[in-house]
Amino acid sequence: MSALKGYRVLELADGVGGEYCGKLLADFGAEVIKIERPGRGSATRDLAPFAPGVAGPERSGLFAYLNTGKRSVTLDLDSAASGATLAPLLDRVDAVIDDHPAGWLAAIGLDPAQLDTRHPALVLCTVTPFGQSAPPERRHAEDLNVMHASGWAYHTPSGSPPDAPPLKGAGRFMASYEAALDAALCIVAALYERETSGRGRFIDISKQEVLASRVDYVLGQMVAGDMDVSTSRTSFDLFGPAGIFACRDGYAYIWMSAPTHWDALRKLLGDPAWMNDFPERWLERACTPERVAQCREHIAAWLKTQDKEEVAAQAQQLGLTLVPVNDVRDLHASAQFAFRGYFTEVEHPQLRRARYPTVPYRLAATPARIDAAAPLLGAHTDAVLASLQETAR
């Protein structure tokens, strides 16, 4: 059983934010019809990673990942003639996802401001860097700029000195993936209400706000005047000896904030003499920069002699929060991921067989599933247009 079976979603998006949102819905059985430009297709078809030895619009592993289970229809939405196709499509779908710049939807004849009168039952969701009402000086933004505008980059990594560049985060698309989660949440909530009211709604997701919201624990205190705001690079930080350390075979992350962690470390290290130089409960009561530096030095010297997986397993048994810093190879080899079936094999006509990452939630009655590989460009154009004509008759 699929939770979203029977819902039809029109995906006008051609960026990662909109496409990932469509994927989150398709995974639960929604029929997602993706509109692509004739010729080159979605912009994500031109983005890395590329499968070795494959050329043309089907070479992108990014596109393959983001568009599993969707149907591809080629249609030039920027041409005046497309309206004749778009209009009946809009009548047949429950929801629309877009991530083009503000103003584009109105230009193709789907003005969000007129949604309620023209398409009262449609759920329309847009994912844009700063929302539909972005001021002109924020019109051009990639995910990099959004990460920086949200505050995450300025405060990443923790403990940054003022003269080191702020960092954008992991990979290229954090802002888009994060915003897609909120978009999918809002669309499904809107469909929930629509089941009884029959009414659609317009949802305007701002990537900047999604990211800033992700630090609400800090930002909420700041805006309420409970925590200092400043131009400091460390204003989001927690202080203490926690951090990433080199191991013999990679890196490990160790967290220490409570006496129980300190006690567990003492057991793990066999009660070394250096620990006796630290006062009782120092992590809570006497966590000076000098002690933090000294503690980190000892931890660094010790972890250099350890293997990350083994030392983490020992530490966890003792109640010390120490974990390996996994790279993508480790994830593919993870016993826990294998147990939960996080990866699934997908056969794609040009990229062949590969292990795709899936989603982080297991729904017992309606599990997410990848039913089909990403569509070849325009693979469903004829079928979808024919079904429209049939309906018209």
Binding site: E142, W152, L167, A212, I244, Y342
Partner: protein, 399 residues
């Protein structure tokens, strides 16, 4: 008392939270922002640390107030059998349960999925754990930065040629909460159409991996293992953070050849656009171009320069400090920052929802005082008489 009529897509949905700290509460907060009535079960004996962290007054804890606006609080002692029975009674009137207690804790309390399902067969039960509720490593625990390290995020964050540095320490809990909220909404929709509830098991580590899905795909396709790449991007160059006046930074992403021509013109170095007209040429000379850009940006005011570049079509934004965020007029204009009732006749700014929507839910109250809604929950939802409620207090079940 009419607590349920705030509108919004999830109006009429009631959520019970057995949550601690940040990730679970964040999931509840999002559902509340969509119109659900969200009730936190709390008690003095097992108080959320964010209620007591660094403050004397548990009703005015800044961290707690930051992530729990618009929720209700009921006091029920989970360390007594009667308290657990009371929670099960309450769950008969709820649609969703969210828990992020330590691995196995809800089962030991007698509030595992089977126990709850027995009294409320169509419950949507959301269990949140670092590694999920089962599997060889599910016994392990950790805090947000552990999720990011385990899920592959930390390894991708760092400066060129240096060890991984990881995201800011605050990252991960709220992403985890959002994924849980989405899964809950999907299950609610399924329940509305089929009558069937279900168990949902969310893994924080996998939430992190889903934020780097393309890097995981890369390994699947060609076996490569991407590492940290500072501010770089495989498909754009230049793409980075550059120093400005007074310790400020500007982010610039050159997303097309045309944008590069505009940037070169703004730098008054038009020859750069003829020397490096294509992405391939700019990627090959990325370090040199980054140095030239940094030398040019150094004397500028970051916000003014971003505005200038925007005018000629180049994607640019100041790297925002906490001062920039809290004073961002756009965030206030959109209602991202907004005022709610503070419970004492005044108002208080909060971080609102990151979306705008038509017919959205009203958000009018701040975080609840401990037990603020005891009378509503015990009286109106459970229908207990005032005497019976008084007895709960006297016998320390509601404390």
């Amino acid at each position: 008392m009419n607590l349920a009529s705030r509108g919004g897509p999830l109006q009429g949905v009631r959520v019970l939270e057995l949550t601690k700290v940040w990730a679970g509460p964040y999931a509840g907060k999002l559902l509340g922002f969509l119109g659900a009535e969200v009730i936190r079960v709390e008690s003095e004996g097992s108080l959320d640390v964010t209620r007591s962290f660094g403050v004397a007054d548990i009703n005015k804890a800044p961290g707690f107030r930051a992530v729990n606006p618009q929720k209700l609080s009921v006091q029920i002692d989970m360390k007594t059998g009667e308290g657990i029975a009371l929670i099960l009674d309450l769950l008969k009137h709820c649609d969703v349960l969210i828990e992020n207690l330590r691995p196995g804790a809800v089962k030991r309390l007698g509030l595992g999925y089977d126990a709850v399902k027995a009294v409320k067969p169509d419950i949507v039960y959301v269990s949140m754990g670092m590694y999920g509720s089962e599997g060889p490593l599910s016994y392990q625990t950790g805090y947000a930065p552990c999720f990011a390290a385990l899920g592959g995020v930390s390894a991708l964050v760092g400066r060129d040629g240096e060890p991984p540095a990881g995201m800011n320490v605050r990252y991960a809990d709220s992403t985890f909460g959002t994924a849980a909220a989405y899964a809950a909404a999907v299950a609610l929709l399924h329940r509305r159409r089929s009558g069937e509830g279900q168990f949902i098991d969310v893994s924080a580590v996998e939430c992190m991996t889903s934020m780097i899905g393309d890097a995981v795909m890369q390994h699947a396709l060609d076996g490569s293992v991407p590492g940290s790449d500072a501010n770089r991007h495989a498909d754009m160059a230049p793409h980075g953070a550059y120093p400005c006046r007074d310790g400020e930074w500007i982010s610039i992403a050159v997303s097309s050849d045309a944008a590069w021509q505009q940037l070169a013109a703004a730098m008054q170095q038009a020859d750069l656009s003829t020397r490096f007209p294509t992405l391939a040429e700019r990627k090959a000379n990325e370090a040199e171009l980054d140095r030239m850009l940094a030398a040019w940006t150094a004397g500028h005011d970051a916000a003014a320069l971003a505005e200038q570049l925007q005018q000629c079509g180049v994607a640019a934004a100041k790297s925002a400090s906490s001062v920039d965020l809290v004073s961002d007029p756009h965030l206030w204009a959109r209602g991202f920052f907004r005022e709610v009732n503070d419970g004492e006749g005044g108002s208080r700014p909060i971080v609102g929802p990151p979306w705008a929507m038509t017919r959205g839910a009203e958000i009018r109250d701040g975080a609840p005082r401990l037990g603020e809604h005891n009378a509503y929950v015990f009286g109106e939802i459970l229908g207990l008489s005032e005497d019976a409620q008084r007895e709960l207090v006297e016998r320390s079940i509601a404390r």
